[in-house]
């Protein structure tokens, strides 16, 4: 378990330190668009996740703390 945790931390640290040219604040206009956000409409996301949770074994991935249901 501890080994997996350390490996996960090392992976995340490696990704966050990717040697890319830093994007300057004045270059972030496109990134501010709604369609560039990594998470979409909260109600839509909840509906989608609830539907898939009721039909498939895999669930979650982007957040923690959601309530369960008797559908699965």
């Amino acid at each position: 378990m501890m080994r997996r945790l350390l490996a996960a931390c090392a992976l995340l640290a490696g990704l966050s330190g990717c040697a890319l040219a830093p994007v300057q604040p004045w270059e972030k206009g496109e990134l501010a668009r709604t369609d560039m956000l990594l998470q979409g409409d909260s109600l839509e996301t909840r509906f989608d996740e609830h539907i898939y949770t009721s039909k498939e074994a895999a669930a979650g991935g982007s957040a923690v703390g959601g309530g369960g249901c008797g559908c699965n």
Binding site: E30, D35, F47, S62, G68
Partner: protein, 381 residues
């Protein structure tokens, strides 16, 4: 055009609108407190069927509210009511005449977020209730950005406490508890690329079996791991954005699953956008799932060699079989004016054993199909 969203509103307003709709965690953009409040209403219609059989219908209205407080706080809340009716399989794809169900699920959640100069801290609580099931969940989430705001670390810790009281009284006050941890990183890669990588681990114990399915006896603990990779890219010349995601999932049931998602957000001008989307999913069967081959002496639904009273794990739940699934959908959105927006999404889903990738799917199961429709309205103030 560079500073305009696909709806023709200034990018700053687009950012604000997006932040208002995102009470959750994990976005590189949602670290400034919202300046305007918002309320969203969404209605879901969902219908599921198998050949010759209507299975489940769901009508679900939902509402969400987000209110900024004192410039450094926000409160987000949502509530939904799922009206579910239909029939669920008792084993594999078999339906009994007595299996008709009609249930009302009520769910709500609230999130309080504190905005800091280089991060956020959020506390969330969720509650849902059905006639035979109650779920409570709490979580703590945080984000922390680098000085140049190009890298954001995401952390989360959550727990849930569920209880089930099935009407057939197979168990009473059976509980299930889970603890989940999340760690992720969001990275601005270029002026038109942003990516996110998130790992989650969930450890649970308690009652995992389905009390309404025959011969269903699942392990009383479950470990689940996910790795999620997301990448958004802006095509300025085309006025479009691609949104790609891949999730790997595995659990202690022996299930491995891959999920690939792709969306193309195409601006059409005058506040309109259209988003075709596709999702591919494949999963390996649980170690204790058994194919629809039954014991020669006991018959259906007992697996070969079944012993009454045995504690050996077994399940004929189609959701634990090996299969693949495809979702195709399209979303149409319209920014009506500075305050109002509407959207409509239609999706079609189908899963089949033969569509499993990286291996052979489970045999003998009827395809499952579903259609869903979501209609939403958002108002900011």
């Amino acid at each position: 055009m560079e500073n305009k969203s696909q709806n023709g509103v200034p990018a700053g307003q687009a950012l604000l609108a997006a932040a208002l709709l995102l009470p959750g965690i994990g976005t590189v953009h949602a670290e400034t407190p919202p300046e305007r409040g918002s309320v969203g209403v969404k209605y879901l219609y969902y219908k599921e069927d198998q050949p010759g059989l209507d299975r489940v219908r769901v009508h679900a209205p939902a509402v969400s509210v987000l209110a900024p407080i004192a410039g450094e706080w926000s409160v987000a809340a949502s509530a939904t009511v799922d009206d579910v009716s239909g029939a669920s399989p008792r084993y594999h794809t078999a339906i009994s005449g007595a299996s008709h169900m009609d249930d009302l699920r009520k769910a709500g959640d609230v999130t309080v977020t504190r905005y800091l100069p280089r991060g956020t801290v959020s506390v969330s609580a969720a509650y849902s209730t059905e006639h035979d099931y109650v779920s409570r969940a709490l979580s703590l989430q945080g984000t922390m950005s680098s000085e140049d705001k190009n890298t954001t670390w995401n952390f989360g810790l959550g727990g849930s406490d569920d209880s089930i009281n099935p009407v057939n009284r197979i168990v009473q006050d059976a509980g299930r508890q889970t603890v989940s941890v999340l760690a992720g990183v969001t990275r601005v890669l270029t002026p038109v690329d942003v990516g996110q990588f998130t790992l989650t681990h969930t450890q649970g114990h308690g009652y995992y079996s389905d009390p309404y399915k025959l011969v269903d006896n699942r392990p009383d603990s479950r470990r689940q791991d996910t790795a999620l990779l997301q990448w958004n890219h802006r095509f300025i010349a085309l006025g479009a954005t691609s949104r790609l995601s891949y999730r790997f999932y595995r659990d202690s049931y022996g299930i491995n699953a891959h999920t690939l998602g792709a969306e193309w957000v195409q601006g059409l001008g005058d506040g309109w956008s259209v988003t075709p989307a596709m999702r591919l999913y494949t999963q390996r069967a649980a170690d204790f799932y058994f194919d629809p081959v039954y014991d020669g002496r006991l018959g259906e639904p007992f697996p070969p060699g079944y012993v009454f009273g045995s504690t050996q794990a077994s399940s004929a739940d189609q959701r634990l079989s090996g299969f693949g699934a495809v979702t195709l959908g399209v979303k149409l959105a319209k920014q009506l004016n500075h305050d109002w927006a509407m959207d409509l999404k239609i999706e079609r889903y189908e899963q089949r054993g033969a569509w499993r990738l990286f291996g052979t799917g489970s045999p003998g199961l009827a395809p499952m199909r579903a259609v869903s429709l979501q209609l939403g309205v958002t108002r900011q103030w």
